[in-house]
Amino acid sequence: METLGRSFADAVGLLWNMDPALIETVVLTLEVTLVALVIALVIGIPVGAAIGLTRHLPGRWLIVPLIYTGMGLPPVTVGLFTYLVLSNQGPLGGLGWLFTPAGMIVAQTIIALPLVVGLTMAAVQGVDPNLPVQMVSLGATRRQVASVTLLEARVGVTAAVVAAYGAIISEVGAVMLVGGNIEGETRVLTTAIVLETRRGNFALAMALGIILLSLAFLTNFAFHRLQVHQGVR
Protein backbone atom coordinates (compact mmCIF):
# COMPACT_ATOMS: atom_id res chain seq x y z
CA MET A 1 0.00 0.00 0.00
CA GLU A 2 2.83 2.32 0.90
CA THR A 3 4.49 1.63 -2.42
CA LEU A 4 1.28 2.45 -4.29
CA GLY A 5 0.81 5.68 -2.41
CA ARG A 6 4.39 6.69 -2.97
CA SER A 7 3.99 5.92 -6.67
CA PHE A 8 1.25 8.49 -7.14
CA ALA A 9 3.31 11.08 -5.33
CA ASP A 10 6.38 10.16 -7.39
CA ALA A 11 4.43 10.36 -10.63
CA VAL A 12 3.18 13.83 -9.88
CA GLY A 13 6.63 14.90 -8.70
CA LEU A 14 8.35 13.65 -11.82
CA LEU A 15 5.92 15.45 -14.08
CA TRP A 16 5.92 18.59 -12.05
CA ASN A 17 9.68 18.81 -12.12
CA MET A 18 9.76 18.03 -15.83
CA ASP A 19 12.54 15.54 -15.19
CA PRO A 20 14.51 15.69 -18.47
CA ALA A 21 15.14 11.95 -18.66
CA LEU A 22 11.43 11.38 -18.24
CA ILE A 23 10.54 13.92 -20.89
CA GLU A 24 12.98 12.25 -23.26
CA THR A 25 11.41 8.85 -22.57
CA VAL A 26 7.86 10.14 -23.03
CA VAL A 27 8.73 11.90 -26.28
CA LEU A 28 10.38 8.79 -27.69
CA THR A 29 7.43 6.64 -26.61
CA LEU A 30 5.02 8.90 -28.45
CA GLU A 31 7.27 9.19 -31.50
CA VAL A 32 7.66 5.45 -31.97
CA THR A 33 4.04 4.59 -31.25
CA LEU A 34 2.45 7.36 -33.27
CA VAL A 35 4.63 6.83 -36.33
CA ALA A 36 3.93 3.09 -36.23
CA LEU A 37 0.23 3.81 -35.80
CA VAL A 38 0.09 6.18 -38.75
CA ILE A 39 1.88 3.72 -41.03
CA ALA A 40 -0.44 0.94 -39.90
CA LEU A 41 -3.49 3.12 -40.57
CA VAL A 42 -2.35 4.29 -43.98
CA ILE A 43 -1.79 0.71 -45.10
CA GLY A 44 -4.36 -1.07 -42.98
CA ILE A 45 -7.55 0.96 -43.42
CA PRO A 46 -7.66 0.69 -47.23
CA VAL A 47 -6.74 -3.00 -47.09
CA GLY A 48 -9.32 -3.73 -44.42
CA ALA A 49 -11.98 -1.79 -46.32
CA ALA A 50 -11.14 -3.58 -49.55
CA ILE A 51 -11.41 -7.01 -47.95
CA GLY A 52 -14.65 -6.05 -46.22
CA LEU A 53 -16.24 -4.65 -49.36
CA THR A 54 -15.18 -7.25 -51.93
CA ARG A 55 -18.08 -9.64 -52.11
CA HIS A 56 -16.33 -12.58 -53.73
CA LEU A 57 -12.75 -12.46 -52.60
CA PRO A 58 -10.66 -15.41 -53.75
CA GLY A 59 -8.93 -17.00 -50.79
CA ARG A 60 -11.22 -15.38 -48.23
CA TRP A 61 -11.36 -18.74 -46.45
CA LEU A 62 -7.65 -18.34 -45.70
CA ILE A 63 -7.17 -14.60 -45.52
CA VAL A 64 -9.70 -13.85 -42.80
CA PRO A 65 -8.46 -16.45 -40.28
CA LEU A 66 -4.92 -15.22 -40.94
CA ILE A 67 -5.95 -11.68 -40.11
CA TYR A 68 -7.74 -12.79 -36.97
CA THR A 69 -4.63 -14.74 -35.92
CA GLY A 70 -2.52 -11.68 -36.62
CA MET A 71 -4.69 -9.70 -34.24
CA GLY A 72 -3.51 -11.97 -31.45
CA LEU A 73 0.20 -12.08 -32.27
CA PRO A 74 2.33 -12.05 -29.12
CA PRO A 75 4.36 -8.82 -29.30
CA VAL A 76 7.47 -10.55 -28.04
CA THR A 77 7.32 -12.98 -30.95
CA VAL A 78 6.99 -10.12 -33.39
CA GLY A 79 9.94 -8.52 -31.63
CA LEU A 80 12.02 -11.65 -31.99
CA PHE A 81 11.12 -11.99 -35.65
CA THR A 82 11.99 -8.35 -36.32
CA TYR A 83 15.23 -8.75 -34.38
CA LEU A 84 16.27 -11.72 -36.48
CA VAL A 85 15.42 -9.91 -39.69
CA LEU A 86 17.25 -6.71 -38.77
CA SER A 87 20.23 -8.42 -37.15
CA ASN A 88 23.61 -8.39 -38.85
CA GLN A 89 23.09 -11.98 -39.78
CA GLY A 90 19.57 -11.33 -40.99
CA PRO A 91 18.33 -10.41 -44.46
CA LEU A 92 17.89 -6.71 -43.69
CA GLY A 93 20.91 -6.29 -41.44
CA GLY A 94 22.40 -3.80 -43.85
CA LEU A 95 19.77 -1.23 -42.92
CA GLY A 96 21.33 -0.83 -39.49
CA TRP A 97 17.93 -0.43 -37.90
CA LEU A 98 18.51 -2.80 -35.00
CA PHE A 99 18.70 -1.02 -31.65
CA THR A 100 17.30 2.16 -33.18
CA PRO A 101 13.85 3.76 -33.04
CA ALA A 102 13.40 2.83 -36.71
CA GLY A 103 13.56 -0.85 -35.83
CA MET A 104 11.11 -0.34 -32.99
CA ILE A 105 8.71 1.37 -35.37
CA VAL A 106 8.93 -1.59 -37.74
CA ALA A 107 8.08 -4.04 -34.96
CA GLN A 108 5.18 -1.96 -33.66
CA THR A 109 3.78 -1.46 -37.15
CA ILE A 110 3.71 -5.24 -37.60
CA ILE A 111 1.81 -5.59 -34.33
CA ALA A 112 -0.67 -2.83 -35.16
CA LEU A 113 -1.37 -3.73 -38.77
CA PRO A 114 -3.54 -6.86 -38.32
CA LEU A 115 -5.60 -5.05 -35.69
CA VAL A 116 -6.31 -2.18 -38.05
CA VAL A 117 -7.07 -4.46 -40.99
CA GLY A 118 -9.25 -6.86 -39.03
CA LEU A 119 -11.31 -4.28 -37.18
CA THR A 120 -11.74 -2.05 -40.24
CA MET A 121 -12.85 -5.10 -42.20
CA ALA A 122 -15.40 -5.96 -39.52
CA ALA A 123 -16.63 -2.37 -39.30
CA VAL A 124 -17.12 -2.15 -43.05
CA GLN A 125 -18.90 -5.49 -43.14
CA GLY A 126 -21.27 -4.17 -40.52
CA VAL A 127 -22.57 -1.49 -42.86
CA ASP A 128 -25.89 -2.33 -44.51
CA PRO A 129 -25.05 -4.27 -47.69
CA ASN A 130 -27.73 -2.34 -49.54
CA LEU A 131 -25.83 0.88 -49.06
CA PRO A 132 -23.33 0.32 -51.89
CA VAL A 133 -26.22 -0.35 -54.28
CA GLN A 134 -27.93 2.87 -53.27
CA MET A 135 -24.70 4.82 -53.65
CA VAL A 136 -24.06 3.38 -57.10
CA SER A 137 -27.60 4.30 -58.06
CA LEU A 138 -26.84 7.83 -56.95
CA GLY A 139 -23.83 7.85 -59.21
CA ALA A 140 -20.92 6.76 -57.05
CA THR A 141 -17.76 5.31 -58.56
CA ARG A 142 -16.29 2.23 -56.92
CA ARG A 143 -13.80 4.32 -55.00
CA GLN A 144 -16.56 6.62 -53.82
CA VAL A 145 -18.56 3.65 -52.60
CA ALA A 146 -15.54 2.58 -50.56
CA SER A 147 -14.97 5.99 -49.01
CA VAL A 148 -18.66 6.54 -48.23
CA THR A 149 -18.85 3.10 -46.66
CA LEU A 150 -15.73 3.76 -44.59
CA LEU A 151 -17.26 7.00 -43.38
CA GLU A 152 -20.46 5.19 -42.46
CA ALA A 153 -18.36 2.68 -40.52
CA ARG A 154 -16.43 5.43 -38.78
CA VAL A 155 -17.34 4.33 -35.28
CA GLY A 156 -15.88 0.91 -35.93
CA VAL A 157 -12.88 2.32 -37.74
CA THR A 158 -12.14 4.63 -34.82
CA ALA A 159 -12.33 1.58 -32.57
CA ALA A 160 -9.69 -0.02 -34.80
CA VAL A 161 -7.44 3.01 -34.32
CA VAL A 162 -7.95 2.97 -30.57
CA ALA A 163 -7.31 -0.77 -30.30
CA ALA A 164 -4.13 -0.60 -32.34
CA TYR A 165 -2.88 2.38 -30.36
CA GLY A 166 -3.60 0.68 -27.05
CA ALA A 167 -1.82 -2.45 -28.15
CA ILE A 168 1.41 -0.80 -29.19
CA ILE A 169 1.81 1.92 -26.62
CA SER A 170 1.61 -0.66 -23.86
CA GLU A 171 3.68 -3.45 -25.35
CA VAL A 172 7.16 -4.11 -24.03
CA GLY A 173 8.42 -7.35 -25.55
CA ALA A 174 9.02 -6.08 -29.06
CA VAL A 175 10.58 -2.73 -28.23
CA MET A 176 12.82 -4.32 -25.62
CA LEU A 177 14.19 -6.88 -28.07
CA VAL A 178 14.47 -4.63 -31.08
CA GLY A 179 15.36 -1.39 -29.32
CA GLY A 180 17.62 -2.64 -26.55
CA ASN A 181 16.37 -0.15 -23.95
CA ILE A 182 19.40 2.07 -24.51
CA GLU A 183 19.30 5.12 -22.33
CA GLY A 184 18.78 8.28 -24.34
CA GLU A 185 18.28 6.34 -27.56
CA THR A 186 15.73 3.57 -27.41
CA ARG A 187 14.34 3.68 -23.89
CA VAL A 188 10.55 4.05 -23.86
CA LEU A 189 8.13 4.05 -20.94
CA THR A 190 7.45 0.32 -20.97
CA THR A 191 11.11 -0.73 -21.10
CA ALA A 192 11.94 1.85 -18.44
CA ILE A 193 9.31 0.26 -16.22
CA VAL A 194 10.92 -3.15 -16.67
CA LEU A 195 14.30 -1.71 -15.83
CA GLU A 196 13.19 0.07 -12.67
CA THR A 197 11.34 -3.05 -11.57
CA ARG A 198 14.49 -5.09 -12.09
CA ARG A 199 16.39 -2.56 -10.05
CA GLY A 200 13.90 -2.91 -7.23
CA ASN A 201 12.64 0.66 -7.59
CA PHE A 202 9.02 -0.38 -7.43
CA ALA A 203 7.59 3.01 -6.59
CA LEU A 204 9.34 4.65 -9.52
CA ALA A 205 8.30 1.83 -11.83
CA MET A 206 4.71 2.25 -10.70
CA ALA A 207 4.94 6.00 -11.22
CA LEU A 208 6.10 5.43 -14.77
CA GLY A 209 3.18 3.08 -15.21
CA ILE A 210 0.78 5.76 -14.05
CA ILE A 211 2.31 8.20 -16.50
CA LEU A 212 1.97 5.66 -19.30
CA LEU A 213 -1.69 5.12 -18.48
CA SER A 214 -2.31 8.85 -18.35
CA LEU A 215 -0.73 9.22 -21.76
CA ALA A 216 -2.94 6.49 -23.14
CA PHE A 217 -6.00 8.01 -21.53
CA LEU A 218 -5.36 11.49 -22.89
CA THR A 219 -4.98 10.25 -26.43
CA ASN A 220 -8.05 8.02 -26.16
CA PHE A 221 -10.01 10.92 -24.74
CA ALA A 222 -9.10 12.91 -27.82
CA PHE A 223 -10.07 10.01 -30.12
CA HIS A 224 -13.45 9.75 -28.45
CA ARG A 225 -14.10 13.47 -28.71
CA LEU A 226 -13.47 13.08 -32.41
CA GLN A 227 -15.97 10.23 -32.59
CA VAL A 228 -18.67 12.20 -30.86
CA HIS A 229 -18.05 15.22 -33.01
CA GLN A 230 -18.30 13.13 -36.17
CA GLY A 231 -21.53 11.57 -35.00
CA VAL A 232 -23.37 14.85 -34.86
CA ARG A 233 -22.34 15.81 -38.35
Binding site: S87, N88, L98, F99, M176, G180, N181, I182, E183, G184, E185, R187, T191, A192, V194, L195, T197, R198, R199, G200, N201, F202
Partner: protein
Protein backbone atom coordinates in the same frame (compact mmCIF):
# COMPACT_ATOMS: atom_id res chain seq x y z
CA UNK B 1 -48.24 -19.49 -32.48
CA UNK B 2 -48.52 -21.01 -29.03
CA UNK B 3 -46.24 -23.86 -30.01
CA UNK B 4 -43.53 -21.42 -31.11
CA UNK B 5 -43.83 -19.50 -27.85
CA UNK B 6 -43.61 -22.69 -25.86
CA UNK B 7 -40.52 -23.63 -27.80
CA UNK B 8 -38.96 -20.24 -27.06
CA UNK B 9 -39.77 -20.51 -23.37
CA UNK B 10 -38.27 -23.95 -23.28
CA UNK B 11 -35.02 -22.87 -24.79
CA UNK B 12 -34.77 -19.82 -22.51
CA UNK B 13 -35.53 -21.99 -19.52
CA UNK B 14 -32.87 -24.49 -20.46
CA UNK B 15 -30.38 -21.67 -20.93
CA UNK B 16 -31.32 -20.24 -17.54
CA UNK B 17 -30.81 -23.55 -15.83
CA UNK B 18 -27.45 -23.84 -17.55
CA UNK B 19 -26.07 -20.84 -15.69
CA UNK B 20 -25.45 -22.58 -12.36
CA UNK B 21 -23.73 -25.36 -14.28
CA UNK B 22 -21.49 -22.91 -16.10
CA UNK B 23 -20.67 -21.18 -12.83
CA UNK B 24 -19.75 -24.51 -11.27
CA UNK B 25 -17.53 -25.32 -14.22
CA UNK B 26 -15.67 -22.03 -13.84
CA UNK B 27 -15.14 -22.57 -10.13
CA UNK B 28 -13.84 -26.08 -10.76
CA UNK B 29 -11.43 -24.79 -13.43
CA UNK B 30 -10.12 -22.09 -11.11
CA UNK B 31 -9.55 -24.61 -8.36
CA UNK B 32 -7.76 -26.93 -10.74
CA UNK B 33 -5.47 -24.14 -11.90
CA UNK B 34 -4.63 -23.04 -8.40
CA UNK B 35 -4.01 -26.60 -7.35
CA UNK B 36 -1.51 -27.00 -10.14
CA UNK B 37 0.77 -24.68 -8.21
CA UNK B 38 0.56 -26.68 -5.03
CA UNK B 39 3.12 -29.26 -4.11
CA UNK B 40 2.43 -32.96 -3.76
CA UNK B 41 3.12 -35.28 -0.81
CA UNK B 42 3.73 -32.45 1.66
CA UNK B 43 6.63 -31.16 -0.41
CA UNK B 44 7.98 -27.87 0.94
CA UNK B 45 8.80 -24.90 -1.22
CA UNK B 46 11.85 -22.70 -0.84
CA UNK B 47 11.75 -19.37 -2.61
CA UNK B 48 15.23 -18.42 -3.73
CA UNK B 49 15.84 -14.96 -5.15
CA UNK B 50 19.02 -14.73 -7.14
CA UNK B 51 20.52 -12.84 -10.06
CA UNK B 52 19.98 -13.56 -13.71
CA UNK B 53 23.66 -14.16 -14.33
CA UNK B 54 23.81 -16.78 -11.59
CA UNK B 55 20.80 -18.53 -13.03
CA UNK B 56 21.92 -18.22 -16.64
CA UNK B 57 25.21 -19.98 -15.87
CA UNK B 58 23.27 -23.18 -15.30
CA UNK B 59 24.90 -23.80 -11.91
CA UNK B 60 21.62 -23.90 -10.03
CA UNK B 61 20.09 -26.32 -12.51
CA UNK B 62 23.02 -28.64 -11.85
CA UNK B 63 23.09 -28.31 -8.05
CA UNK B 64 19.52 -27.96 -6.89
CA UNK B 65 18.19 -31.45 -7.64
CA UNK B 66 20.34 -32.87 -4.86
CA UNK B 67 18.92 -30.40 -2.34
CA UNK B 68 15.40 -31.01 -3.54
CA UNK B 69 15.60 -34.76 -3.20
CA UNK B 70 17.45 -34.71 0.12
CA UNK B 71 14.95 -32.40 1.80
CA UNK B 72 11.85 -33.35 -0.21
CA UNK B 73 11.52 -29.72 -1.21
CA UNK B 74 11.06 -27.72 -4.34
CA UNK B 75 13.23 -24.67 -4.92
CA UNK B 76 11.44 -21.88 -6.80
CA UNK B 77 14.22 -19.82 -8.33
CA UNK B 78 13.30 -16.22 -9.09
CA UNK B 79 16.08 -14.80 -11.26
CA UNK B 80 15.99 -11.04 -11.46
CA UNK B 81 18.36 -8.13 -11.22
CA UNK B 82 20.43 -7.78 -8.04
CA UNK B 83 18.39 -4.80 -6.92
CA UNK B 84 15.15 -6.62 -7.39
CA UNK B 85 16.43 -9.79 -5.72
CA UNK B 86 17.36 -7.75 -2.67
CA UNK B 87 14.01 -5.98 -2.80
CA UNK B 88 12.25 -9.34 -2.83
CA UNK B 89 14.16 -10.27 0.29
CA UNK B 90 13.25 -6.99 1.96
CA UNK B 91 9.60 -7.55 1.18
CA UNK B 92 9.68 -11.09 2.48
CA UNK B 93 8.69 -12.43 -0.92
CA UNK B 94 11.68 -14.78 -0.86
CA UNK B 95 13.00 -17.13 1.83
CA UNK B 96 16.67 -16.81 0.94
CA UNK B 97 18.74 -14.64 -1.40
CA UNK B 98 21.90 -15.49 -3.30
CA UNK B 99 23.59 -12.46 -4.84
CA UNK B 100 27.02 -11.00 -5.51
CA UNK B 101 27.03 -7.42 -4.25
CA UNK B 102 29.05 -7.42 -1.04
CA UNK B 103 28.27 -3.95 0.23
CA UNK B 104 24.57 -4.31 -0.35
CA UNK B 105 24.55 -7.76 1.22
CA UNK B 106 26.10 -6.39 4.39
CA UNK B 107 23.61 -3.56 4.48
CA UNK B 108 20.82 -6.11 4.01
CA UNK B 109 21.89 -7.92 7.19
CA UNK B 110 22.72 -4.74 9.10
CA UNK B 111 19.24 -3.37 8.43
CA UNK B 112 17.72 -6.54 9.81
CA UNK B 113 16.32 -7.94 6.57
CA UNK B 114 18.53 -11.01 6.71
CA UNK B 115 19.79 -13.16 9.55
CA UNK B 116 23.42 -13.70 8.55
CA UNK B 117 25.60 -13.63 5.46
CA UNK B 118 27.67 -16.65 4.43
CA UNK B 119 30.39 -16.90 1.77
CA UNK B 120 29.55 -19.34 -1.00
CA UNK B 121 31.84 -19.02 -3.99
CA UNK B 122 33.35 -16.52 -6.31
CA UNK B 123 33.74 -16.13 -10.00
CA UNK B 124 35.44 -13.52 -12.08
CA UNK B 125 34.57 -10.80 -14.52
CA UNK B 126 36.21 -10.28 -17.85
CA UNK B 127 36.12 -7.52 -20.41
CA UNK B 128 35.08 -8.82 -23.79
CA UNK B 129 35.21 -6.92 -27.04
CA UNK B 130 35.02 -7.13 -30.80
CA UNK B 131 37.62 -9.22 -32.55
CA UNK B 132 39.09 -6.18 -34.30
CA UNK B 133 39.77 -4.56 -30.92
CA UNK B 134 39.68 -0.84 -31.87
CA UNK B 135 40.84 0.26 -28.42
CA UNK B 136 43.76 -2.19 -28.44
CA UNK B 137 43.15 -3.57 -24.99
CA UNK B 138 43.97 -7.21 -25.58
CA UNK B 139 46.11 -8.54 -22.79
CA UNK B 140 46.08 -5.43 -20.59
CA UNK B 141 46.21 -6.97 -17.10
CA UNK B 142 44.17 -4.39 -15.19
CA UNK B 143 40.57 -3.67 -16.09
CA UNK B 144 40.64 -0.03 -15.11
CA UNK B 145 43.55 0.58 -17.48
CA UNK B 146 41.61 -1.08 -20.26
CA UNK B 147 38.58 1.09 -19.55
CA UNK B 148 40.75 4.19 -19.69
CA UNK B 149 41.90 3.12 -23.12
CA UNK B 150 38.34 2.51 -24.26
CA UNK B 151 37.33 5.96 -23.08
CA UNK B 152 40.32 7.55 -24.77
CA UNK B 153 39.55 5.96 -28.11
CA UNK B 154 35.81 6.45 -27.59
CA UNK B 155 35.18 2.88 -28.60
CA UNK B 156 31.62 1.70 -28.07
CA UNK B 157 31.05 0.33 -24.59
CA UNK B 158 27.85 -1.37 -23.47
CA UNK B 159 26.89 -1.09 -19.84
CA UNK B 160 24.16 -3.14 -18.19
CA UNK B 161 22.94 0.06 -16.61
CA UNK B 162 20.56 -1.81 -14.31
CA UNK B 163 22.11 -1.54 -10.82
CA UNK B 164 23.01 -5.21 -10.98
CA UNK B 165 26.07 -6.67 -9.31
CA UNK B 166 27.84 -6.56 -12.65
CA UNK B 167 26.85 -2.97 -13.15
CA UNK B 168 28.08 -2.02 -9.68
CA UNK B 169 31.38 -3.68 -10.43
CA UNK B 170 31.63 -1.82 -13.71
CA UNK B 171 31.02 1.53 -12.01
CA UNK B 172 33.69 0.81 -9.40
CA UNK B 173 36.17 0.05 -12.17
CA UNK B 174 35.47 3.36 -13.90
CA UNK B 175 35.99 4.96 -10.51
CA UNK B 176 39.33 3.25 -10.14
CA UNK B 177 40.32 4.51 -13.59
CA UNK B 178 39.64 7.99 -12.33
CA UNK B 179 36.67 8.72 -14.51
CA UNK B 180 32.91 8.69 -14.10
CA UNK B 181 30.90 6.81 -16.64
CA UNK B 182 28.98 9.27 -18.70
CA UNK B 183 25.80 8.11 -20.38
CA UNK B 184 25.71 11.22 -22.47
CA UNK B 185 28.86 10.28 -24.30
CA UNK B 186 27.78 8.72 -27.57
CA UNK B 187 30.10 5.75 -27.25
CA UNK B 188 28.78 4.68 -23.83
CA UNK B 189 25.52 2.78 -24.13
CA UNK B 190 23.52 2.23 -20.98
CA UNK B 191 21.24 -0.67 -21.80
CA UNK B 192 19.24 -1.36 -18.71
CA UNK B 193 19.12 -5.06 -19.53
CA UNK B 194 20.38 -8.41 -18.36
CA UNK B 195 23.78 -9.92 -19.13
CA UNK B 196 22.61 -12.10 -21.96
CA UNK B 197 20.94 -9.24 -23.81
CA UNK B 198 23.90 -6.97 -23.20
CA UNK B 199 26.23 -9.57 -24.69
CA UNK B 200 23.95 -9.98 -27.69
CA UNK B 201 23.97 -6.27 -28.21
CA UNK B 202 27.74 -6.07 -27.94
CA UNK B 203 28.13 -8.93 -30.35
CA UNK B 204 25.76 -7.29 -32.79
CA UNK B 205 27.30 -3.82 -32.86
CA UNK B 206 30.87 -4.69 -31.89
CA UNK B 207 31.03 -3.13 -28.43
CA UNK B 208 33.15 -3.75 -25.35
CA UNK B 209 31.41 -4.84 -22.20
CA UNK B 210 32.07 -6.18 -18.75
CA UNK B 211 30.66 -9.63 -18.18
CA UNK B 212 30.95 -12.47 -15.73
CA UNK B 213 32.94 -15.22 -17.35
CA UNK B 214 30.23 -17.82 -16.77
CA UNK B 215 27.53 -16.13 -18.82
CA UNK B 216 29.99 -15.42 -21.61
CA UNK B 217 31.09 -19.03 -21.80
CA UNK B 218 27.56 -20.34 -21.57
CA UNK B 219 26.43 -18.16 -24.45
CA UNK B 220 29.59 -18.86 -26.44
CA UNK B 221 28.28 -20.03 -29.80
CA UNK B 222 26.02 -17.09 -30.41
CA UNK B 223 28.75 -14.55 -29.69
CA UNK B 224 31.00 -15.07 -32.68
CA UNK B 225 32.11 -11.48 -32.75
CA UNK B 226 33.41 -11.22 -29.18
CA UNK B 227 36.58 -12.35 -27.47
CA UNK B 228 37.94 -12.10 -23.93
CA UNK B 229 40.30 -9.13 -23.88
CA UNK B 230 41.05 -8.60 -20.21
CA UNK B 231 40.98 -11.38 -17.65
CA UNK B 232 42.82 -14.18 -19.30
CA UNK B 233 41.71 -17.53 -20.58
CA UNK B 234 40.51 -18.79 -17.20
CA UNK B 235 40.12 -17.57 -13.68
CA UNK B 236 43.64 -18.78 -12.91
CA UNK B 237 45.00 -16.38 -15.49
CA UNK B 238 43.03 -13.38 -14.28
CA UNK B 239 45.65 -10.86 -13.19
CA UNK B 240 43.22 -8.30 -11.78
CA UNK B 241 41.98 -8.97 -8.25
CA UNK B 242 39.30 -6.32 -8.60
CA UNK B 243 37.65 -8.53 -11.20
CA UNK B 244 36.92 -11.21 -8.63
CA UNK B 245 33.29 -11.52 -7.71
CA UNK B 246 32.27 -13.08 -4.39
CA UNK B 247 28.80 -14.52 -3.78
CA UNK B 248 26.87 -14.42 -0.53
CA UNK B 249 23.81 -16.35 0.62
CA UNK B 250 21.50 -14.82 3.21
CA UNK B 251 18.35 -16.30 4.76
CA UNK B 252 15.60 -13.72 5.02
CA UNK B 253 14.56 -12.63 8.52
CA UNK B 254 11.56 -14.75 9.60
CA UNK B 255 10.10 -11.74 11.41
CA UNK B 256 8.69 -10.72 8.06
CA UNK B 257 6.17 -13.52 8.24
CA UNK B 258 5.53 -16.33 5.78
CA UNK B 259 9.22 -17.30 5.69
CA UNK B 260 10.25 -20.94 5.85
CA UNK B 261 13.24 -20.12 8.04
CA UNK B 262 14.08 -23.69 8.85
CA UNK B 263 14.27 -24.73 5.23
CA UNK B 264 16.26 -21.59 4.41
CA UNK B 265 18.82 -22.47 7.06
CA UNK B 266 19.03 -26.02 5.71
CA UNK B 267 19.65 -24.53 2.29
CA UNK B 268 22.55 -22.41 3.51
CA UNK B 269 24.00 -25.40 5.32
CA UNK B 270 23.76 -27.51 2.20
CA UNK B 271 25.13 -24.83 -0.12
CA UNK B 272 28.20 -24.28 2.06
CA UNK B 273 28.75 -27.98 2.75
CA UNK B 274 31.88 -29.59 1.37
CA UNK B 275 29.89 -31.94 -0.82
CA UNK B 276 28.08 -29.15 -2.62
CA UNK B 277 31.25 -27.08 -2.79
CA UNK B 278 32.94 -29.95 -4.59
CA UNK B 279 30.10 -29.92 -7.11
CA UNK B 280 30.64 -26.22 -7.61
CA UNK B 281 34.34 -26.82 -8.16
CA UNK B 282 33.79 -29.15 -11.10
CA UNK B 283 30.83 -27.36 -12.70
CA UNK B 284 31.62 -26.24 -16.22
CA UNK B 285 34.79 -28.26 -16.73
CA UNK B 286 32.99 -30.71 -18.96
CA UNK B 287 31.26 -28.11 -21.11
CA UNK B 288 33.83 -25.33 -21.22
CA UNK B 289 37.12 -26.95 -20.26
CA UNK B 290 37.28 -24.77 -17.16
CA UNK B 291 35.26 -24.25 -14.00
CA UNK B 292 32.97 -21.24 -13.92
CA UNK B 293 33.00 -20.75 -10.16
CA UNK B 294 35.44 -21.24 -7.29
CA UNK B 295 34.09 -22.65 -4.02
CA UNK B 296 34.77 -20.32 -1.10
CA UNK B 297 32.53 -21.21 1.83
CA UNK B 298 33.98 -21.15 5.33
CA UNK B 299 33.62 -24.92 5.57
CA UNK B 300 35.57 -25.30 2.34
CA UNK B 301 38.33 -23.00 3.44
CA UNK B 302 38.70 -24.88 6.71
CA UNK B 303 38.73 -28.37 5.25
Amino acid sequence: MAAVEREEHASIASTASAYPLILLLIVVMLLAVSCAGKTSDGERVLRLATTTSTNDSGLLDALLPSFESEYNARVDVVAVGTGQAIALGEAGDADVILVHARAREEAFVAEGHGTARSDVMFNDFVIVGPTDDPASITGIPLASDALASIAATEATFASRGDDSGTHSKELSLWDAAGMSSDPDAGWYKSLGQGMGSTLNYSNEVGAYTLTDRGTFLAQGDSLQNLRVMVGGASIDDNADPSLLNPYGVIPVNPDKGGIDAELADRFVEWLTSIETQEQIEIFGIESFGQPLFYPDSMAWRNR
